[in-house]
Amino acid sequence: MATATGPEAAVALAGVGRAYGERVALRDVSFALPSGATLAVFGANGAGKTTLLRILATLLRPHAGRAAVLGAELPREGWRARGRIGLLGHEPLLYRDLTARENLRYHARLHGVPLAAADALLERVGLAARADDLVRTLSRGMAQRAAICRAVLHGPDLLLLDEPLANLDPGGALAVAPLIGRQAGPARVLISHDVEQGLADADWVLGLRAGRQVLWGSAVEVGVADVRGLYA
């Protein structure tokens, strides 16, 4: 198992497990991610990737093991990490009957970020023209851009991204790259189904199968074939 370098690892898990009733979603997951590094998580549907992401987001409590996110022990110290994590899940987490601008401003208020920052972000991703349209009228790609803005608005130190480029056209992907790409700065945990692209973008790789950790290594060591084996 790799050890973290630097004073504060972005994520450090040891033996983490989580169950829903009797169904075990995650079992004995252990790894550490240094700050600023990128982790790619691969696994078939139902392997536990979303559960892992939600634990890292402090939305779910681990049932077993020890987890620390941005130096905060979960679940006791979860509040210390809140506000420094940006989550982009399956759902855009936007209110469909509000405009993109109103949604972002709401999140800005929640996080204590100046409202102008929200407007500036919308400009950067190319949503300025549609910012005052209701989210329910936006295409999936536009909504995804707005969701990405929401995730990075408060300047998080850890980004949790579940297929961030889904639904985005090449223009959109380019527009959001400075916000959520490697060059953006924060540590990233990235779930992707595009094996080559995920491997290319990552420093570390984690593979899950049926809730268990079956693959772990640096991106240069792990081969495409190993990852593809997870989906067999």
């Binding site: 987001a57 402090t58 939305l59 779910l60 409590r61 509040w79 809140r82 506000g83 994590i85 989550l87 899940g89 759902e91 855009p92 987490l93 936007l94 209110y95 469909r96 009957d97 509000l98 109103e102 709401y106 999140h107 208020r109 929640l110 996080h111 204590g112 209701l134 929401r150």
Partner: protein
Amino acid sequence: MRRTVGALMRKDLRLELRSFESVPAMLMFSVSAFVLFRFGLDRDALAGDLAAGVLWVTLLLAAVLGMSRLFVTEQEQGGFDGFLMAPVDRTAMFLAKASVLFCFLVAAELVAVPAFVLLLLEPGWGQILPELLAVLVLADLGIAVIGTLVGALGVQTRARELIVPLMALPLLIPVAIGAAEATAPLFAAGGAGPLPGRWLAVLALYDAVFGLLAFAVFDFLLED
């Protein structure tokens, strides 16, 4: 905390203004209920405790309509996640939602109560307005607290529309008792009598107990 509650309330009130889900339903229901009562009781003018009863039963049932919807948007559109990840005091959600429900109740009553007086109340307005307002405010506080609690309890359930009324109505019976008993002398046929202070005290006690209780336990509904 105040900033968070403010942000939440702005968002919810704006959503309501856009989608018009709760308040119009509560309003229309109240007026329809008054018409139903007119025919069901076969009376076109009510006074005293009968009038108080009809008004409060209608307002309570209308309130129950608003309760089920209170948390639905959060549940369906990921509002809980967004809130839970923000560096804010989680009790703000309870305060904000209860305040929003209170606002919805006031908005609905702004139409429903005059409609009641116009349609069914024999004595008419008279001098009762300040006392009636006092009862309305105290009762609405209780309804808002209970409604927020029960709305949150039911948010996970598929049978939400059933279980929320079933839970809320027994819990609100003391409010119904207090409000109806307090209002009955105001609607007396021979001229409004004095407001019985004891029932206002009951309402205030109820509001205080459940308000504090809800404040204490609400966070447990948001975890995990």
